[in-house]
Amino acid sequence: MTDVLTPDSAVHTRPHGLRAIAHDSRIIAWRNLIHLPRTPELVIFTLIQPVMFVLLFNYVFGGAIGAALPPSVSYAQFLIPGIMVQTLVFGSSATAVGLADDLQKGIIDRFRSLPISRSAVLNGRIIADAIRLTVVAVVLIVIGYLVGFRFEGGAGMGLLMILVAVSFGTAMCWIMANIGMAVKDAETAQTAGFVWLFPLTFVSSVFTPVATMPGWLQVIARNNPVTLVANLLRALSLGEVLPGTTWASMTTPVVLWVVGITAVAAPFAVSRYRKV
């Protein structure tokens, strides 16, 4: 009869290899998802802010900016894909804050003192964040439908649009993971993860057509990955490519950005995690 406190010399049987990574990542992801409804700031950030942005931009700026669009395109149709990139990119900064908070509070030390796979804590967080971003994207679509946005190209294209947006947001989460581990406290992570997102998302086609900007800024805005993603999302929501482009020319740079960011930021984050 062993007591509750009796030590056990047997080493626990844990899954091995990839199964271990999947097992541990799933449990950590579950832990992070439980946090969502219990963190009011995150709920507001996740649900209220996108709703507010859609309503504000559509009704406050819609009249002025809509005039710069081709007559066949409504501002809502232009706005929703743009807001989606912008919101998911901003939403990725919660990865930095959450990770820095875990570091600060010693949760990461707890995980690192357990015999679990080294990438599980980051994988679990990113998986949970990808799910969170998907929820945000769906909320945006719902609000979009209320203000006149439509999946003109059908549901399949619509799902693809959400997939592309979430993939890009998730790639950004890996960058944010690095920031979170570098700054190590939640308040700094909030700032460090946020500030640079303003130029990144505003110097783009998210809110206004690039053609309305000064020439030098247009060069930046046109090559901004946020613009490339926003344009692809617009094409997917319309079901047709923008004038003068093809599906290949719109999709390739976005795929390269998503894969490129992830391929650089994820291994970097994992190696940083081992050293924190």
Binding site: D3, R14, I27, R31, I107, D109, R110, S113
Partner: protein, 336 residues
């Protein structure tokens, strides 16, 4: 007995700070080692290296026969860590925290659930099992933290300042649990800045300061090494200290006299010789010096600590200062 933790010449620097400057120690299976030292002595760094959270710059350490640097995962599967740094998740309930760790250790859901329930019961947290840990009191939080580190039935438990910030009742409770764990065969490495805690729990004590081991032994050995009891005499006037010192030197040649100008006190190592203490007091009164107060000071681990680390507020002009002890509560053994 065999050493279950073996540490040889560990070095770890953070920039110019030598957090560990050649630490060696060993812990026998089934015993409690108290790692004692002031803030910044390197206690936590040592624990972080031994629990695989931090890589040492040089030196070796094995825990349960596994090398902490090259066999980290084996080490992790036999240790538990509780302390100021390893924490529980405030947003999860007590039960969720325990179940999560159980599942991460490879238990299936049902097994993790049973283990969580029995630990919550054992730590008197069953009523709070489904409340978020963020709502727990300090003592409850420390208990759930300890419970989390025990989910996997670790052979070796690291308690990093386990009672820092706890109220006295919670501290006693935690001590009782620690004793029970040791009785069941768990090896414990405890870091603390509370001497009382080391005295209460530890079989052996290693005193570290500035990343070096400066003394080790049992609590009694350490106390013996800093000498026996001392007579502490407080004078009404500071001017009396000088003539009094001369009288003491005449009565007990070769005995350490510690002088504290701020407190107007002299203290004299008299060990068990109460007759000498009585003669000293008599001579001082006869010579017309005005004694405000006097008492025999028992050596405490505090004295040991202050003597060894030199972190005494007393005048440190002596090479080997006899500790004066600054806490009046420790000075409660009257001569008469």
């Amino acid at each position: 007995m065999t050493a279950i933790i073996q540490v040889d010449d560990l070095h770890k620097s953070f920039g110019d700070t030598h957090a560990l400057d050649g630490v060696s120690l060993s812990v026998d299976e089934g015993t409690v080692l108290g790692l004692l030292g002031p803030n910044g002595a390197g206690k936590t760094t040592a624990v972080r290296v031994l629990t695989t959270l931090l890589k040492a710059d040089s030196g070796t350490a094995t825990v349960g026969g596994f090398d902490v640097a090259t066999q980290a995962n084996q080490v992790r599967s036999i240790i538990g860590l509780t302390g100021q740094y390893a924490a529980v998740d405030e947003k999860l309930t007590g039960a969720e925290n325990l179940r999560m760790v159980g599942q991460l250790l490879g238990m299936d859901k049902a097994h993790a659930g049973r283990r969580a329930a029995e630990l919550l019961q054992r730590f008197e947290l069953a009523d709070a099992a489904d409340r978020q840990v963020g709502t727990y009191s300090g003592g409850m939080r420390r208990r759930v933290d300890l419970a989390v580190s025990l989910v996997g039935r670790p052979r070796i438990l690291f308690l990093d300042e386990p009672t820092t910030g706890l109220d006295p009742a919670s501290r006693l409770e935690l001590w009782a649990i620690a004793r029970e764990l040791v009785a069941d065969g768990t090896t414990v490495l405890l870091t603390t800045q509370y001497l009382e805690e080391a005295d209460e729990l530890a079989d052996r004590i290693v005193v570290i300061d500035h990343g070096r081991v400066i003394e080790e032994g049992t609590a009694d050995e350490l106390k013996d090494r800093t000498g026996g009891r001392s007579l502490e005499i407080e004078f009404t006037s500071r001017d009396d200290l000088e003539p009094a010192s001369r009288i003491l030197a005449g009565l007990a040649p070769g005995t350490q006299v510690q002088r504290d100008d701020a407190q107007n006190t002299l203290s004299l190592g008299v060990d068990q010789d109460t007759a000498l203490a009585a003669r000293v007091i008599a001579s001082l009164s006869d010579s017309g010096l005005s004694i405000e107060d006097f008492h025999m000071a028992r050596p405490s681990l505090d004295d040991v600590f202050l003597a060894l680390t030199g972190h005494s507020t007393a005048d440190a002009s002596d090479d080997e200062p006899v500790p004066t002890g600054n806490d009046p509560a420790l000075r409660e053994a009257p001569l008469a």
